[in-house]
Symmetry: C2
């Protein structure tokens, strides 16, 4: 196990967990939300904005960074932290999800995935070992194993075969990391020698496959465990159910990361099912599209009803955008296609997400999480103010 990564479970409230993990770049309080910094920047947000909002960890996408500017360039520049100037913890995914969703022609074989870049059509192969090497060069605090990401829906047979391959890939990934740790080759510099590695549970919407995947992945042994292949189109109740049963099967003493989720309600509901970590493009992408989360409901800032609305986006929000600007101004900036519309909206949505996580952590610490959860779900925050 990595010396640099430790997870401490600080307390529980029902199934919900309050914890923290230590990394070479600092401590992350859990449950945690990780803003997505695909290309080495969270879109429309400067690092200082993220620090001010209290983001303790961000995510980078290996697929994008591998293609541009390249993991070897980043390694020569001292690793991803130094290259992008972010001093707090980071996690990189393995690239698998983007190969399935972004790359042009892709072929998955037992050895790995062949694909063509969405940028220039260039051909590449990503194997489990190569995903480990690339992430070693990037040097985030947490690396993810390469897994096979299936489309939804899938047959049981397809889901089983895919899950089993993902387990074999996970084993190869861990073996590669162990080899790198024992004797790092010159062409794979370890930008962060204490990098942790998380395994990923697959199995689609079939709970018995999820159970088999969890058991096999835990048997390999990782610093943490993720649940992948959800939030891909399945009904919310199925996502919640699979999350609940799978999280229960994972070791208590390791962090649990639900990949790619979700709405604010998803965060609360999946913390209630034992999840410690989340990432999602929703707050940032929706912000750039003028879709804003507030304690009173969701706002589509394009709506004509906001043209002369002097109120802040959310009267309960203390972010820079809400302290200084009206809905009327934000609507104007959006319609005028100003970059500051994206920046101000992103600040707000990330503030809403990170503030929700703070409230979740406080509620667990005070033993009032169930009250918080019921109140949050009763509130209008999931509803649209524009319908």
């Amino acid at each position: 196990m990595s010396d640099g990564f430790t997870f401490t479970l600080l307390g529980t409230d029902g199934v919900a967990r309050r914890g923290e993990f230590h990394t070479p770049h600092g401590i992350v309080q859990t449950p945690a939300f990780m803003p997505v910094g695909t290309q080495g920047t969270v879109k429309a947000a400067l690092h200082r904005d993220l620090e001010e909002l209290g983001a303790e960890i961000i995510l980078g996408n290996t697929y994008h960074l591998f293609l541009r500017p390249g993991d070897e360039l980043i390694a020569r520049r001292g690793g991803l932290h130094r290259f992008i100037g972010w001093t707090r913890p980071m996690l990189t995914d393995s690239g698998g999800f983007q190969i399935f969703s972004l790359a042009e022609r892709r072929v998955i074989r037992e050895e790995g995935a062949e694909f063509q870049s969405h940028l220039d059509g260039s051909r590449h192969t990503l194997t489990p070992e190569r995903a480990v090497d690339i992430q070693s060069r990037l040097g985030a605090d947490v690396a993810m194993v390469l897994d096979e990401c299936m489309a939804y829906p899938a047959t049981r047979e397809a889901a089983a075969a895919s899950m089993e391959r993902s387990v074999r890939w996970a084993k190869r990934s861990r073996e590669r990391l162990d080899a790198l740790r024992a004797s790092p080759p010159a062409h794979v510099p370890a930008a962060n020698p204490a990098q942790a590695q998380f395994g990923i549970v697959q199995g689609g919407v079939f709970q018995d496959l999820r159970n088999d995947s969890a058991d096999a992945t835990v048997a390999i042994g990782f610093e943490g465990y993720a649940i992948g292949g959800l939030s891909v189109g399945e009904p919310t109740e199925v996502m919640y159910s699979i999350t609940e049963e799978t999280a229960r099967r994972l070791p208590v003493e390791r962090p649990r990361y639900l990949m790619g989720a979700g709405t604010p309600e998803d965060l609360v509901e999946c913390v209630a099912r034992g999840i410690d970590m989340f990432d999602c493009v929703m707050p940032t992408r929706n912000a750039r599209n003028g879709q804003l989360f507030t304690s009173q409901g969701r706002i589509n800032i394009k709506n004509a009803r906001y043209a002369e609305d002097d109120r802040p986006l959310d009267p309960e929000c203390g972010c820079y955008t809400c302290r200084h600007h009206s809905r009327a101004y934000l609507r104007h900036l959006y319609l005028a296609a100003e970059m500051t519309a994206g920046a101000l909206n992103t600040l707000h949505n990330l503030s809403f997400y990170l503030d929700t996580m703070r409230r979740i952590r406080d509620a667990i610490a005070f033993g009032t999480f169930d009250n918080f959860r019921q109140g949050f779900l009763r509130s209008a925050s999931r509803l649209s103010l524009d319908s």
Copy 2:
């Protein structure tokens, strides 16, 4: 004259002037550079960034704000300051320059300018009186008179006719403002009753026309005087010469504003010729195009030579971008078309411009402006590091 606007000449060093003007929204140290906030935001910069950079005044474009979201909407929201949440001084132009450069089909008559919106082709008329009314509704601290902006080059006859029309329009503009101040009609709310009004000297590159224009404009009487119709394609030396001779003819006790200039060298050279105020889109537009100003020369961040350059854009710069990020990272963000590229580059270029103005003011105060000027022009700052 406006009670809310006073200009104080604090000192001179040769022809260069150190001063300050007081407005209802605060004090502006001169010589001053005004970042351009065309649509109610400086592109890619949040207000807090501008405040941190020390921007004491920004410029808004009447043409854009009149078309979207509309001056009447802004007036209902309490004026431009309140609408956009900017608390420091602001100046609005008259819309004339944009009608000449942006609008579709336009016809200039003695009464005013008819034009079609570049946004939707809608037809509008802007008269000198209407430009006063619109800017009264916006309520910036300084409003500009509507002038006729000629293309360069122009014949002497055309320049003379145009200049004479601009003088007649200036007189109508002042009469309209006097009427509004004496008895504001309900449909023209004064968002800022102490708004100042500047006249504009025209006359192309013909110094005798410039002299006539200056004399006639000063005879009407304004809180300040601008030199318009330069930086439109004429040779730099012609621009400097016209600026020098025209500034000399303007009253010592009023601020002098050279519209639309320029490069950093232009700022230094025109301060040396008696100018107090500048505005230009160059720092912000160039930033978004990856063109950066540094004390060592100009940088095109796209250039491959910066791919692995760990240095800041400018080792002598203390801006957020230079304190935290390398050229290699900024190049990556630019090539990846990330919005944060525009934001970080804009922070830097505005910092370079505003810092240049601070150094100019200090040099005048210390009586060392000529030394500063010679050093600035000898430095490599005007040269490209990429050629």
